[in-house]
Point group: C2
Chain length 201, copies 2
């Protein structure tokens, strides 16, 4: 691309650094911004900057927060005895969106992945151990993606926590609701058979 | 989406204002930014801001520029007698990318579109008229998209310019290079038949 303006080129360069956004899409975004009111562009630049300058992590659970304590941990209506461990805040939001969970969370900030050089010490695990050891904690729910990294992290945490007086559970895996057996992959189907539960009427 | 941080929420709101970017994608972009070094995020915010605060339009052709004169108009190697009229700077870049054009440009900043309330007075047309009237200008090439708006603008400009001693041309339309007749739409095929050119060997 040959630009007549370095300002436009810099903006295209910066925006095409996003995952999934190439230079053509970045150019389209730049043209969109050029046509927006200045106040809106200032708001965007400001919102993006604050992600690095003002965003904090909750001192209890490690989730993103504005004040050092996230809205879930600060909420006295939540059951502090039940802790759901998740990879990152987008997984926390996905669980929150189900409206099925009334406990609190613990955000690891990633999963154990030797391939990517992420070991247990890179993750927010030590505070989880102390939370689990605290009197009053009943249950640790592990809610990780069904990947090698999720399984590894689950195995590691379960071994770390097994001598503590807390119940350790993990979310169930199997055929998606609405999913058809015919189209399920072999591993999922095999596991859901192995982990069958008693059906009571 | 229920956010535990207003800072994250504001950034998602701002990024989902882009065309083609929904809240889920915006969340993914925000997570990407959170993991980047602060300097990179500052560079992005700065590049975006400058689009509104520092970007200028070339005083000759209306293209985007850093200094009031674009790199094409400032280049003494370009043929100033040939002016290619385009809708916006992305079309100018597309033509420049062909490496087939050595003249200068004129950027209208849009096309005439009564449906969108864009009339000739909203566009950078009056300066084009004076450029066409200048001694030394040989040819005005109209290079617009093959849409109703492009055709309307072409018709309007041709009428405005027809009494001036300049040659008025437009880019050819027809079957794309590599395109097969079988799959060409009827209108394109009909036009390319009507506008057939003599084939010399």
């Amino acid at each position: 691309m040959q630009f007549t303006s370095a300002i436009v080129e810099n903006a295209v360069d910066a925006l095409s650094g996003f995952p999934g956004i190439g230079r053509r899409t970045a150019l389209r975004l730049v043209m969109h911004l050029m046509n927006r009111p200045e106040a809106e562009v200032v708001r965007l630049a400001d919102a993006v900057l604050k992600l690095k300058t003002e965003l904090q992590l909750c001192s209890i659970c490690g989730n993103v927060s504005d004040s050092g304590l996230c809205t879930v941990c600060a909420n006295p209506m939540r059951n502090q005895k039940q802790i759901c461990v998740v990879e990152d805040f987008s997984d926390q939001m996905a669980i929150e969106a189900t409206s099925q969970y009334g406990g609190v969370y613990h955000v690891l900030g990633g999963l154990i992945s030797p391939m990517d050089g992420v070991g247990p010490e890179e993750l927010n695990i030590s505070t989880l151990i102390s939370r689990a050891a605290q009197e009053g904690t009943d249950e640790i729910i592990m809610a990780f993606s069904a990947t090698v990294e999720g399984d590894t992290t689950m195995f590691y945490l379960a071994r770390k926590l097994r001598d503590m007086p807390v119940k350790i559970t993990c979310i169930s895996r199997g055929i998606s609701v609405g999913g058809e057996i015919e189209y399920a992959d072999e591993i999922t189907l095999g596991r859901s058979l192995a982990n069958r539960t008693e059906y009571k009427v």
